[in-house]
């Protein structure tokens, strides 16, 4: 079980492109996981990052990544949360908005567009998070969305990582993730077993 950004990145580097459910145990692991994926893992594998923001506005994530001095040139956001919380103060050129987290097809279309734009470079898609999308969508349509998205990514040889917050997860979401993802990785905070 990885407990730091480096450990998570090292575990991911060993894997072929797959659909991975990343279970986050505790709030403290959230930014560690993001850093492990978008900074260390993506840089080492020379991947573009397509970050689906459904939990917090993309600008908040960008602010944190800037503090951490992460190279932003290869990170692109599909933000479906800022438009509904009216938090678009400034728009980063790498951010693509989707009007609402219920427009799941439009999320897929923006991912598709960004993959088309990335040319020869491979991609890692990070969905943050399944729990937040579950607030806005029925389990049935959400399962369909994740199933199609995962298969699209597999067909394009891309990694897809789906955040699942342990504290907010239900049996239904857990079962769905087990069913549609290739594997599950749990991330804990340092010192936890």
């Amino acid at each position: 079980m990885p407990k730091s950004p480096t450990e998570l990145a090292e575990e991911l580097i060993q894997l072929p492109p797959s659909a991975i459910s990343l279970k986050l145990r505790g709030d403290e692991t959230y930014f560690d996981a993001i850093r492990g994926i978008v900074d260390i893992f993506a840089s080492k594998k020379d991947l573009n990052v397509i970050y689906i923001s459904a939990a917090i506005p993309s600008q908040s994530t960008i602010d944190v990544l800037n503090i951490l001095e992460v190279d932003m040139s290869r990170i692109f956001f599909v933000d479906c949360i800022s438009p509904i919380v009216a938090s678009i103060i400034k728009r980063h050129p790498n951010v693509h908005m989707v009007e609402s987290p219920t427009m799941l097809e439009n999320i897929m279309l923006k991912v598709e567009y960004l993959m088309k734009k990335s040319g020869d470079r491979s991609n890692v898609v990070l969905l943050d998070s399944i729990n937040m999308l579950a607030i806005h969508n029925s389990p049935k349509i959400l399962s369909e969305f994740v199933h199609i998205l995962n298969n699209n990514m597999r067909a394009k040889n891309a990694y897809i990582l789906i955040f699942s917050m342990d504290a907010f997860s239900s049996d239904e979401i857990g079962n769905m993730m087990t069913f549609v993802c290739d594997l599950e990785i749990s991330m804990a905070k340092e010192g936890e077993n």
Partner: protein, 259 residues
């Protein structure tokens, strides 16, 4: 001499395809539109009909097929601005004459068709003028935007039927794959304003706006396409600088009508 009947075990005859260049649509159509087909692209305003047809022509021109856009309602200068934002658009296509824009009112004027209501004879004159243009410019792809506006001046069902039949045959005989753009109201229960166009066209592609829980999604559905197997499912589309992208409509959502 007896005519040879096709054997039951003979492989199906494969018709050459005209790839639209829109990846999602070509997948739906099993490789593209059967070459020479006349397709009705129909939908209410804002559904992406003109944008899709322009992309079809731009991809054709890039592939070296001379492509013609016949604009009935909008001035071509204005339309040309719509293709410029495409990442793959190259202005030399217009300069070289591979991508040509023609305004229908100019054709009417040159033919001396000044009356508001066109006659059956005029139908033949217009079709011949379009045919001559296709021959002269060696056109392989054509868009008529919109056939509804032409039909508006034809008034009767007989003349509309004659026009669609003649234009379809004229273009098909020349190996030209064409899109006829048709405007319908959001609540229409048929695929064309006059009901005639849909019966005669080789294919019908329905474009719509689907309202689902307050969200408005642009959709595309191939209802009919002669000469190919195709999906009849509904897809959601997005108009992007990289062209039109399509993904399947998720069915887990609550039902909603096409508006």
């Amino acid at each position: 001499m007896a005519t040879e009947k096709p054997r039951k075990d003979a492989p199906p005859i494969y018709r050459e395809r005209c790839a639209t260049g829109i990846e999602g649509l070509d997948n739906i159509l099993n490789g593209g539109i059967p070459r020479g087909n006349t397709i009705l692209f129909t939908g209410s305003c804002g559904t992406g009909k003109t944008t899709l047809s322009l992309e079809f022509l731009v991809h054709g021109a890039i592939a070296g097929e001379n492509s013609l856009f016949v604009s009935v309602t909008e001035a071509s200068d204005k339309l040309m601005k719509n293709v410029i934002p495409y990442d793959f658009f190259d202005e030399t296509l217009i300069k070289k004459g591979t991508l040509v824009f023609v305004d229908m009112p100019v054709i009417y004027e040159r033919l001396g068709l000044t009356e508001m209501e066109l006659s059956l004879e005029d139908v033949g004159t217009i079709v011949k003028a379009v045919g001559d243009l296709v021959d002269e410019l060696s056109i392989k792809r054509l868009v008529l935007d919109s056939v509804t506006s032409v039909c508006y001046r034809l008034k009767t069902e007989e003349k509309i039927r004659e026009f669609i039949l003649q234009i379809g045959k004229c273009l098909s005989d020349r190996g030209c794959t064409s899109m006829l753009i048709s405007e319908i109201s959001p609540s229409a229960e048929r695929y064309s304003l006059y009901g005639v166009e849909e019966a005669i066209a080789d294919g019908i592609v329905l474009m719509g706006n689907l309202e689902r829980r307050g969200d408005l999604l642009r959709t595309l559905q191939v209802v009919k396409m002669r000469g190919t197997n195709h999906s009849r499912a509904k897809y959601v589309l997005d108009l992007t600088p990289a062209g039109i992208l399509l993904v399947p409509l998720l069915k887990g959502g609550s039902g909603g009508g096409t508006t």
